[in-house]
Symmetry: C2
Subunit: 444 residues, 2 copies
């Protein structure tokens, strides 16, 4: 049994759906509705006849039609009976949000539950998990609600880490294809999820947070298959012995030797990072920056200092400063005021305008010495987002954007960039690290 009836579920039942706002069974049903799920939704609750405008059923077996996915949010003691019912109902998958299993010392209860499910062909996400959003299917069986479909798939043992990445991707206007929080991952784990997502045709990068990976060989094989199609970024929790011990308390995973894991994963084509922000930044880069033909970057900046920092960071990220041709330099000299530097980094100074950024990129884009642009808006520059959007449509070389500063113009332009779905980096260093990853083409 694959994961098709999980990700591509055509119908969903919510066992423990509640009419009471703020209860999890209410939130889950609300988010499925607000997420825009197009198939039938069945709230299951013996005490209600209708919840959120949907007919409620007293039990799974009372639902007259087939159910692909069963979302379970009831007390742990009741879960086994619901799983049995889901098997009888011939459901394809269950997401068990409820806690109270292995993580609470009830390993036996979890073992039995997965035994029942496996015998009945039911795939299980969780227990003790934050569920799944899969945007290509407008399926939002999680919280918070996810609406903005985009290139990044998040697969995480931790619901909080998953939600943080999804939040950041939404704020940045990039969006996600998937947010899968695995919890105790008694059945569905990283390996299969990565296999599915790498081949779904919608996911452009997979970001994984894991505290332990079960069958390491199978995982590495899946990683190789996946990175042949899309980049995979990995953050491992429990890298240090004490972190490992904390991970064991938390999810009882076995962590193994981190260094060995990291080198095998890199050899399998993954990008291995060591912080949650680096995980997001790498996913943002792979999902939001077009791959340049080479490593030579032309920097355009309104701040000389930011240009210097970008140059340093570019070198440290394995990039090279573009050497502009004499023709480009001469043309720039004609188009820009004398105060501007026309060598790379091209410094428009604090009086730089969006029109000048446009003139520079138009002039330098045909230069065969330039593979990509880094546009640093270090001052309030109205029109920045509209200009970059237009230039991205007109020519193929990637334009990576940094917007520094926290004033009104900056806030407005950041919003405009997000609406245009152009990722903005908050520092030259983060942007260059991202571009460096994409240019190196790791995992593609």
């Amino acid at each position: 049994m694959g994961l098709e009836r999980l990700f591509q579920a055509k119908s969903v039942a919510v066992v423990g759906a509640s009419a009471t706002p703020l209860k999890l069974g209410h939130t889950l049903l609300t988010n499925l509705i607000e997420g825009g799920f197009r198939g039938p939704l069945y709230p299951i609750n013996p005490k209600e006849r209708e919840i959120l405008g949907l007919k409620a059923y007293p039990s799974l077996s009372a639902v007259p039609d087939p159910v692909d996915l069963v979302v379970i949010s009831v007390p742990a003691a009741v879960v086994p009976a619901v799983v049995e019912e889901a098997v009888k109902k011939k459901a394809g998958a269950a997401i068990i949000v409820s806690g109270g299993f292995r993580e609470a010392g009830n390993a036996e209860g979890e073992r039995q539950l997965v035994q029942t499910a496996r015998a009945g062909g039911l795939r299980v996400v969780g227990p003790n998990c934050q569920g799944l959003a899969y945007l290509p299917n407008r399926l939002c069986a999680t919280w918070p609600v996810q609406r903005l479909e985009g290139p990044i798939a998040v697969v995480s043992q931790s619901g909080t880490v998953a939600a943080a990445l999804a939040d950041w991707a939404t704020e940045d206007g990039l969006g996600i294809s998937c947010m899968l929080a695995l919890g105790n991952k008694t059945d569905v784990a990283e390996t299969e999820a990565i296999d599915f997502l790498a081949g779904d045709g919608r996911t452009k990068v997979i970001a994984v947070y894991s505290e332990g990976l079960g069958d390491g060989r199978k995982f590495m094989e899946a990683l190789k298959r996946a990175t042949a199609k899309v980049p995979v970024v990995l953050l491992r929790g429990g890298r240090t012995p004490t972190g490992h011990a904390a991970a064991q308390t938390h999810t009882k995973s076995l962590a193994g030797q981190y260094e060995v894991f990291a080198s095998l994963a890199e050899a399998a084509g993954a990008t291995v990072v060591s912080s949650v922000e680096a995980l997001y930044d790498a996913a943002k880069a792979y999902g939001g920056i077009a791959r340049p033909a080479g490593r030579r970057v032309a920097i355009i900046t309104s701040s000389g200092g930011a240009g210097v920092l970008a140059t340093d960071a570019g070198v440290e990220a394995g990039l090279e400063p573009a050497r502009l041709s004499d023709a480009t330099t001469t043309a720039l000299r004609e188009k820009l005021p004398p105060r501007c530097s026309v060598r790379n980094p091209i410094d428009l100074t604090g009086d730089g305008t969006a029109e000048q950024y446009e003139a520079v990129i138009r002039t330098a884009a045909p230069d065969p010495g330039v593979d990509a642009f880094l546009a640093i808006f270090g001052d309030p520059i109205p029109g920045a987002a509209a200009t970059v959007k237009k230039l991205q449509q007109e020519q193929a070389k990637p334009i990576v954007v940094v917007f520094l500063g926290g004033g009104e113009v900056e806030a407005r332009e950041r919003q405009a960039f997000a609406e245009a779905r152009i990722p903005v980096f908050s520092s030259p260093e983060r942007a260059m690290r991202g571009l460096g990853l994409v240019a190196a083409g790791r995992g593609i």
Copy 2:
């Protein structure tokens, strides 16, 4: 001549003050007014009789009273005459915002200018700079306007980098004591600025961005003097050969060997970083986290995954997980629901409440095995800010805050933390790196 008449100016003239909004000479005067400067302000403009409600003078010499500080925003060609006038007026310092000197190939003009100033006892900031905000004197001769006084002094060759740090410090509710953008630094440079700020009694940390440091030995000596009083964090632009070349185009500084510089600076007690965000994070930590008695951290989290990441990051930052005493563990077990883990990291799970964070910190604060707390709010937890504020007043052990997630509750709580002037870190890793610096006591 020291820098007292610059930082502690009792009266300020703005040469090139303009009545036209959006002109720099208008912004500068506006910001001096809005920044709350308490001494007399003299707009100098031969074409106006009054600007922004203040009497305007045709020239510096027409001002009847003494002038400490002259802010100059006029075309480069006019600057030498203004400097001569400032000398005649016996002003103590000039901030030359105007560009068009060394950075534009006019090194000779700059040399003459500084000669005139030095002969006349006039200290010069700039030219080609974004000026100075010094909050203890409510002096805001820069842009954007700076109003929130706090612990961080920013000294930067780049105006954009200076403003980015000041913006971030304001957003975080920390605030700045100083934002000094040195530009071409033909006279006033890092060395003297650090000397002054380390001894002003208001600055708790100095963050420096520099692309080259003139007399290296004098700088290192100033660094030693300064770090005996307050931490100093250094970011050097032009670390790589190509970055160095970019820095030379930009400000014509000589960079020297970076590795030598970095090791000397570390030996002198400074914290050396390599990105603008690391510069800010370190300043935020030194300025916003009380120094703990030791390195043992108790982590309280609503997210097991974030607790694992924090544990890893803590070890990597030189910290240790606190071992709670049996008495503490027993007391926590009585106070918390069975689902919670009462060993470090203390995991309240996704249903954690502000009251539970309070109970944990109250219970664990007297434990001699705990030096500091890391409170991770990985879910929407109303009341988080009010609780931490209260606990910080009740007990002395530092509480470092991480707030993950981008929902409504999180936005509200972030705002409440900023209003309470408690810095919030956006990831466990950044928080632990900050706490690690403070616990190591570098530079104090």
